[in-house]
């Protein structure tokens, strides 16, 4: 495929999942599609890491899951953000922005 891909830095996957779910409950496939779309195909989440991440976040209590019907009326597992998940998202997003801003600043200055 022609599009240039970037490997996800360590720890950003959780942040991307949380951010995506902040828009509303989604199933796993939609999460990976959404990230791919929004990032113009630059970020693509490997399914092999998506689902373990979802289960990990669920265990931590940041997201919760329930079964529902998908757009094409199939049974799908929907994840949504919990209250602690929202707080966690805010903290992580804040940290991320600070980090990228600082990195950008250093890169520009040198």
């Amino acid at each position: 495929m022609p599009t240039e891909r970037i490997e996800l830095p360590q720890g950003t996957l959780d942040l991307l999942i949380l951010r995506t779910l902040a828009l509303g409950p989604q199933h796993g496939w939609a999460i990976s599609e959404r990230v791919q779309q929004i990032s113009d195909d630059v970020l693509r989440i490997q399914q092999g890491s998506l689902y373990p991440a979802l289960h990990r976040l669920e265990r931590r209590g940041w997201i919760k899951a329930k079964w529902g019907a998908s757009e094409n009326n199939r049974r799908a597992k929907y994840y949504e953000l919990t209250r602690t998940g929202q707080k966690q998202l805010a903290t992580e997003q804040d940290a991320w922005e600070k980090l990228t801003a600082a990195v950008a600043q250093v890169l520009r200055a040198v």
């Binding site: 199933h27 796993g28 496939w29 599609e33 490997q46 399914q47 092999g48 890491s49 689902y51 373990p52 991440a53 289960h55 990990r56 669920e58 265990r59 931590r60 209590g61 919760k64 079964w67 998908s70 094409n72 199939r74 049974r75 799908a76 597992k77």
Partner: protein, 907 residues
């Protein structure tokens, strides 16, 4: 976190459901993705192929998800357990041997620990026992000018410089310190009381207690009421509270017992209540049947109960501390009162320099009871069963090692397909812990049998009825589980580590089974050999201990007691408690003596104030006429009835024996040989006098000299003893029989009953029973150590046999080649036996060294044999060698019979 816990628990208990959901979720994803590819124009087949490529290993993702959910540990544990059970079921004989060995080891430990728990650890079954303290005095010297009685509640020392018997006034002082003590009580006993008015006359263990006894302990009635302080007031009606167990046994648990009257030592008492069933004991091991108020001491005819005299120290005082008050504060409050009383009272018991102190000890620690007697043997037994468990561990470890070797291929395969070594170790450890838990479960089933057998042995050899609360409590359970866990790790760790270190290449090449360890000894036998050495060494320690005790028992039993200890029946009676006075007692005894002597099979009957070799002793300090040294000396005393020396077969050496006409009034006495030798050497003792040094003390004239006898115990040296006629007191009858003593016991009982049905016959036994009781600790230890040593030896021989058999099997090819090259059968045989003997020799040497250090612990039980007795050590080592050679001979024979053709063909 709650969600964490929920998800973990769900993973365990709804495993199938969770797995299904995971599958559904992943399948949904794949279908969505496939749909997307199809919409983009790919064929269905191509789309599915792409999805599979994208997705990677479906199982791998699932595994990662499981990990993410944190279920892997518990789930793989369940998996390991299932796998372990399958492996164990695959080799049932191997499993059975290991489980039995472990059941033996763990069961023995649980059994002894149950006893240790009951005797030494369990807390007093009353409300908040940690608040209870016992008053104990100590000083540099033993107190003077006071009478003291104690009932074995507390520990004593030989010098008599500590004790917990106190006088009544001091109890009142302690009770009145309301700032320090919420409450306090005192008790004395239990002592034997004649109980009549309920079926046949019996003996009950009655305790005299203060009215505050039950309220201080926080013990409620199961029926009626318990004693209250009002019951102790002068003129209060005579009432009695029954022990729950006694009420069940004697009154069949009937509520009608309430309000009934019984006679205790001929005085009438009304039953007012039954104590709650949980109150099994206060002092460990002491059995109490009933409680009466201290103020009834006089009506019970107890001579040692001059109740309120400050120089009669007869009560154990127990206080319940006010909350927030420490023992030190209690001591500080009572010490001045105590010191003032004992230093400056009407009759001072100590001088300032003796530093008398009053301490308050935790009741749990101070009330030792049978701990005094059984504590040390029990701890030694605990150590011994610990050794048994170690031997069992080493034995099982050896078996596991051999099996680990035969499973090397399985391990290699599992390593090759990617299992982590850690995972293999865990699998193997799970198997061994599983084994040890199965063993522990079986052991826990067997333990109660051993416990009741031991408890029966304890009771049979106890002077007083013994109360052991032997229910399995949480502590015993935890102990057993802990022992099982440690055992499982203990015998499983080495084989597991070794198993996981399997070399991949050798085994996968298929060479592993016969030749990997074929040349030389390989790695297994090194560790296996060490395990056998350990087993032999530990067995050696046990065997040596058992050997020393057997020699001790031999030595003790071959001591000449100075009288004929065979065919002698002893029993006691206290007619004065049943109302007999002075002359009536003498007439009763003469009557009984005559009637019993006429029984067929009885060759002699007499009585004395005490039994010889029964653990009791009375002595007095006397001055002896004609002795150069005018100081009083200590002399053992025994008051005897007519025909005593003839009945006991104690020889007359000089002068004459006491006759029927000798009474306490004639002041004639007989002394023993050593009395003369020690105090009247070179003089004619006949006609000389001895007696107490107060003017009104009787002076006895020596009319005869008899042979020496043992008195208190077999171990005590023959000591100067004086025999005088018995006054009208309680007595121990001695009946010499020509038949087996047990067969005459009912007839003797009948004689007493026919003379007076209200006279209980107490503690009827043979002289041999009494001696056996004296040797209780030695016999207990000799028997059990002997048993344990036999078990240890058996295990060690199985271990040795197993190791050699395994080695021979592994070296079949090598042996075959040797035989083919011309080695003689004898050479092969001795090659195997030599290895066995080497291991046993190492083990015996190590065992000798260990035993050398350990047998000191038995020193207090040994008699006329040193803990390092070379004969015992040599015999034990010899026995080990013989058993060792026997254990090797079977595998050696098999090795020497190896047929070179078969051995080489099987490659």
């Amino acid at each position: 976190m709650l969600s964490d816990l929920y998800i973990r628990l769900r993973s365990i208990f709804r495993r199938a459901k969770v797995e299904e959901e995971l599958d559904d979720e992943l399948r949904f994803h794949q279908e969505q993705q496939a749909d997307k590819y199809i919409q983009a124009g790919l064929s269905r087949e191509e789309a599915l192929r792409r999805v599979r490529l994208d997705f990677g290993g479906h199982e791998q993702v699932k595994e990662d998800c499981r990990d993410a959910r944190g279920i892997s540990f518990l789930e793989s544990l369940a998996h390991d357990l299932r796998y372990g059970l399958r492996m164990l079921a695959k080799s049932p004989a191997f499993t059975a041997v290991i489980v039995l060995t472990l059941a033996l080891g763990i069961g023995a430990n649980s059994a002894i620990f149950t006893l240790v728990d009951a005797v030494m650890l369990r807390s007093i079954p009353v409300r908040a026992p940690q608040q209870l303290v016992v008053a104990q005095w100590s000083a540099r010297k033993s107190p003077k000018a006071l009478g003291m009685s104690s009932f074995g509640d507390c520990a004593h020392n030989h010098e008599g410089t500590i004790g917990c018997s106190l006088p009544y006034p001091l109890f009142q002082e302690i009770q009145s310190q309301k700032k320090v003590f919420a409450d306090a009580m005192a008790f004395a006993g239990p002592s034997q009381m004649d109980l009549s008015g309920n079926a046949t006359a019996t003996i009950a263990q009655g305790e005299l207690v203060s009215g505050s006894y039950f309220q201080t302990l926080g013990v409620s009635p199961a029926l009626g009421r318990t004693l209250t302080p009002d019951d102790e007031k002068p003129g209060a009606p005579a009432v009695v509270v029954l022990d729950y167990g006694y009420w069940q046994r004697t009154f069949a648990g009937s509520p009608a017992a309430l309000g009934r009257t019984i006679r205790l030592n001929n005085a009438v008492f009304t039953i007012i209540g039954v104590a709650e069933p949980g109150f099994a004991r206060l002092t460990p091991g002491k059995s109490v049947d009933l409680w009466v108020s201290l103020s009834q001491a006089r009506s019970l005819g107890k001579q040692w109960t001059r109740r309120s005299s400050p120089d009669n120290w007869w009560l154990v005082v127990v206080g319940r501390l006010q909350s927030g008050v420490s023992r030190a504060q209690a001591q500080a409050a009572l010490q001045p009162i105590f010191a003032n009383e004992v230093l400056h009272g009407a009759k001072p018991h100590w001088g300032e320099a003796d530093d008398p102190r009053l301490l308050f000890l935790p009741a749990q620690q101070a009330l030792t009871g049978i701990r005094n007697l059984y504590g040390e043997p029990l701890l030694l037994l605990m150590a011994a069963v610990g050794l048994i468990l170690l031997i069992a561990c080493a034995n099982v470890a050896g078996l596991m090692l051999a099996r680990a070797a035969s499973r090397e291929r399985e391990m290699a395969v599992r390593l090759a397909i990617g299992a982590a070594r850690r995972r293999l170790i865990r699998q193997l450890l799970t198997e061994s812990i599983l084994l040890s838990f199965i063993g522990a479960a079986l052991g826990a089933l067997l333990a109660p049998l051993a416990v009741s057998a031991l408890a029966a042995f304890f009771s049979k050899n106890s002077w007083l009825p013994l109360q052991l609360d032997l229910h399995i409590d949480l502590l015993v359970l935890l102990f057993t589980i802990g022992a099982a866990l440690l055992t499982g790790i203990g015998f499983g760790l080495a084989p597991a580590l070794r198993g996981s270190r399997t070399s991949l290449t050798i085994h996968l090449k298929g060479a592993g089974t016969t030749s990997a360890a074929g040349h030389g000894r390989g790695r297994t036998p090194g560790l296996g050999g060490a395990l056998v050495v350990l087993q032999v060494a530990l067995s050696m320690v046990m065997l040596t201990g058992a050997g020393l005790l057997v020699r001790t028992l031999d030595n003790l039993r071959s001591i000449h007691a100075g009288f004929d200890t065979r065919n002698l029946i002893l029993f006691e009676m206290s007619p004065q408690l049943a109302g007999y006075k002075d002359q009536q007692v003498t007439i009763l005894y003469a009557n009984l003596q005559k009637r019993m002597a006429s029984l067929p099979g009885v060759t002699g009957v007499s009585y004395a104030s005490d039994a010889l070799l029964d653990g009791g002793l009375s002595s007095d300090s006397v001055k002896i006429e004609g002795r150069a040294d005018k100081n009083a000396v200590n002399v053992q005393m025994l008051s005897v009835g007519p025909d005593y020396f003839a009945t006991m077969k104690i020889p007359l050496l000089d002068g004459r024996l006491l006759s029927n006409s000798d009474t306490t009034r004639t002041k004639h006495a007989v002394v023993n040989r050593i009395f003369v030798q020690k105090y009247l050497a070179g003089r004619n003792p006949l006609g000389l006098h001895f007696g107490g040094d107060r003017p009104d003390d009787p002076q006895w004239e020596i009319v005869g000299v008899v042979g020496d006898t043992k008195y208190e115990t077999l171990r005590s040296e023959d000591a100067p003893t004086a025999y005088m006629p018995l006054a009208s007191d309680g007595a121990t009858f001695a009946v010499r029989t020509a038949l087996a003593p047990a067969s005459l016991m009912p007839a003797i009982r009948n004689v007493v009953n026919s003379v007076d049905a209200n006279l209980p016959v107490v503690r009827m036994r043979t002289q041999s029973d009494s001696i056996n009781r004296l040797l209780f600790s030695e016999r207990l230890m000799a028997r059990l150590l002997g048993l344990f040593a036999a078990v240890g030896l058996l295990l060690a021989s199985i271990g040795l046999y197993g190791l050699l058999a395994y080695e021979v099997e592994r070296r079949t090819r090598e042996i075959g080649i040797r035989t083919a090259l011309g080695a003689q059968r004898g050479t092969i045989w001795s090659m195997v036996v030599r290895r066995g003997i080497l291991l046993v020799t190492f083990g015996a040497a190590a065992g000798c060294a260990a035993a050398f250090g350990v047998t000191r612990l038995l020193a207090s039980l040994l008699y006329a044999v040193r803990p390092t007795d070379p004969v015992t050590f040599a015999l034990t080592a010899g026995l080990l060698l013989i058993v060792g050679i026997l254990a090797c001979s079977l595998p050696a024979r098999r090795a020497s019979r190896v047929d070179p053709m078969t051995a080489l063909r099987c490659e």
